[in-house]
């Protein structure tokens, strides 16, 4: 069980974006998908979620717990989204509905998939807010009143509220400062493990990946060019594409450590 993507081809209009991608995330596993910006990582997550733009064509196979998702009508995909699969987005500042309060936002998947009383829903939402470390008084606030880290905590709470078996996190920390990045990654990992869910963690940043996953795929220009244990890949990348990403991560880490003193401005400091 889990998700198995095989020979996935996605084209937008006549322009091919993915050329036969294969990847698997088994139940309870945390798997990374790393690649430079523009390599097609988000396109893979969109294909799995049924969020490809209307102009996209998609062939190949995506099996979620043995069920074929490619070609599934939107209504059936919608029944899976937010229930069987949860998604955390790169930029919570723009993804969160600016009109919804934190409470309403986190409750949305519950509203869409379950028949609960308002009280039951609120109880679950407040419990989830505690889990992701959101103070109770933020329940009635709107996204623009939150820090970036708090916004992403709302995003994680929304993705996890229905206890889906698979979480896809598409660069969940890219929009955050490096200190908050670590907190958010650690939070995501601990919650996913606690729920026993599987995680597909997408990033362009190897240093974040090592914190979140043991196994990973390297994507370049719409093709998986390398796969293996994250640590091994970090130490000895085989392909030049993977080497470039690893070197970039090293530089970033050095840079961050060198200026560590300035790193005190975290979300808690705001």
């Amino acid at each position: 069980m889990g998700i198995v993507v095989d020979d996935l081809q996605v084209a937008i209009g006549s322009r091919p974006i993915l050329h036969g991608v294969h990847l698997e995330v088994r139940d309870g596993q945390r798997v990374g998908l790393v690649g430079p910006s523009g390599s097609g990582k988000s396109m893979i997550s969109r294909a799995i979620m049924g969020l490809l733009p209307p102009t996209a064509g998609c062939t190949g196979s995506i099996e979620l717990n043995g069920r074929q998702l490619v070609g599934l009508p939107d209504a059936e995909m919608a029944a899976l989204r937010g229930a069987a699969v949860g998604m955390v987005f790169q930029n919570p500042g723009t993804a969160l509905n600016p009109l919804l309060t934190v409470g309403r936002q986190i409750a949305l998947p519950l509203e869409l998939h379950y028949e609960l009383t308002a009280d039951e829903r609120e109880g679950r939402v407040r419990a989830m807010m505690r889990k992701v470390g959101l103070p109770d008084e933020l329940y009635g606030r709107r996204p623009h009143e939150l820090s970036g880290g708090q916004q992403q905590r709302v995003g994680i709470a929304t993705a996890l509220i229905t206890s889906p078996r698979l979480i896809i996190a598409d660069e969940p920390t890219t929009a955050l400062d490096s200190m908050t990045q670590r907190q958010i990654v650690d939070l995501l990992v601990s919650l996913v493990d606690e729920a026993g869910a599987a995680l597909l963690f997408i990033t362009h940043d190897f240093s974040v990946l090592a914190r979140a996953t043991r196994y990973c795929y390297v994507l370049d220009a719409g093709r998986i060019v390398e796969r293996g244990r994250t640590e091994a890949l970090l130490e000895a990348p085989h392909t030049p594409q993977a080497r470039t990403l690893v070197e970039a991560a090293r530089r970033l880490t050095l840079h961050v450590d060198g200026t560590g003193a300035q790193e005190t401005e975290t979300e808690e400091g705001r």
């Binding site: 939107d74 919608a78 989204r81 229930a83 723009t94 993804a95 969160l96 709107r142």
Partner: protein, 320 residues
């Protein structure tokens, strides 16, 4: 919010003042003597002088402006030269035609444009998207005159379904017979509605697309909404501020924009009335009418801004 309201209203008053000065000066600074123009270029000098004295045009500019504004404050917009009626009642009669025409036209435009705009974003096949695109472009490119003529030929002359011909036009007694008057507005309103509807469709489309590109639609879908539901429930609501602006501006624009339609269908509305007054060189009436139009545009702008404020929680607290 209170602070914002006060600031916005002060701005409104300031703009109103500037507009009044501009309108007032424009008619007096333009080349040519106002009294001479109004009396007609070949009138004897005595007639010009008499008119100048009668209208107070021989007094200092500041005094003239003061008189005019004092009149406006009392609700006295002057009298028309042609019939000697108060400008206010003449404009009032025209508003009774133009306003229902615009409201009806706008309703038709919204009823056509918003669903079509949504549908064009939701369309999954390339052919359907192309079709919607074509509808928007063709609809927007049709000249009002031509669309009106076609409708007149189709309904007025051809089948006689609606008793509306340019010759008959609006009933002489105005809204004395409401059914007759309303009927006279149907074809013109449909003409306006189709043309404006095409542009509402394009605006709806681009507003929805700009909202969709922020990721809020994807997020709503990721929570379990279908694409259609996310667009109609989340997308339209988020696009609402943009749409309100467009509708407000369109509404204001239509007041003068329907001039062609009013002329074509022989409706004595604001647009055709303004042209009438200009051709009759009734410049005092024109001055008050232009001021009323400008004031109306400013009111629409004020309403649009306040609605924005109410619709978007991100505005509101930030600037307190």
């Amino acid at each position: 919010m209170i602070k914002y309201l006060a600031r916005r209203c002060a701005l409104f008053a300031l703009a109103l003042f500037v507009v009044s000065v501009v309108v007032f000066l424009a008619l007096r600074v333009l080349p040519g003597d106002l009294a001479t123009i109004m009396a007609g270029l070949n009138s004897p000098p005595e007639r010009v002088a008499a008119l100048r004295a009668e209208l107070g045009l021989d007094r200092p500019l500041a005094a003239q402006y003061g008189d005019w504004i004092a009149g406006l404050m009392r609700g006295d917009f002057g009298t028309t030269m042609l019939t000697g009626q108060p400008v206010a009642s003449v404009v009032g009669a025209r508003v009774q035609i133009t306003f229902p025409l615009i409201m009806l036209g706008l309703l038709i435009a919204l009823a056509l444009g918003v669903p079509l705009g949504c549908a064009s974003v939701m369309a999954r096949s390339a052919r359907a998207r192309g079709l919607y695109q074509a509808v928007a472009i063709v609809g927007g490119a049709v000249p009002a005159l031509w669309a009106g003529l076609v409708l007149i030929l189709l309904f007025g002359r051809g089948s006689g379904l609606l008793p509306i011909l340019p010759a008959s036009g609006f009933p002489q007694d105005g809204w004395g017979d409401p059914a007759q008057a309303a009927l006279a507005l149907v074809l013109p309103a449909v003409t306006v509605g189709v043309i404006v509807g095409a542009s509402i469709m394009r605006y709806t489309r681009s507003a929805l697309q700009s909202v969709a590109s922020t990721g809020a639609i994807e997020m709503a879908m990721a929570c379990g909404m279908t694409r259609r539901r996310a667009l109609t429930h989340v997308g339209l609501r988020l696009a609402m501020p943009q749409l309100v602006s467009v509708v407000g501006l369109t509404f204001a624009e239509m007041i003068t924009g329907v001039m062609v339609i009013e002329n074509l269908f022989a409706l004595p509305g604001i647009g055709s009335g303004l042209v009438d007054d200009l051709t009759h060189r009734d410049l005092i009436a024109v001055q008050s009418e232009l001021f009323m139009l400008a004031a109306f545009f400013l009111v629409i702008g004020l309403l649009v801004d306040l609605t924005h404020r109410a619709l978007d929680p991100r505005l509101g607290e930030d600037d307190e």
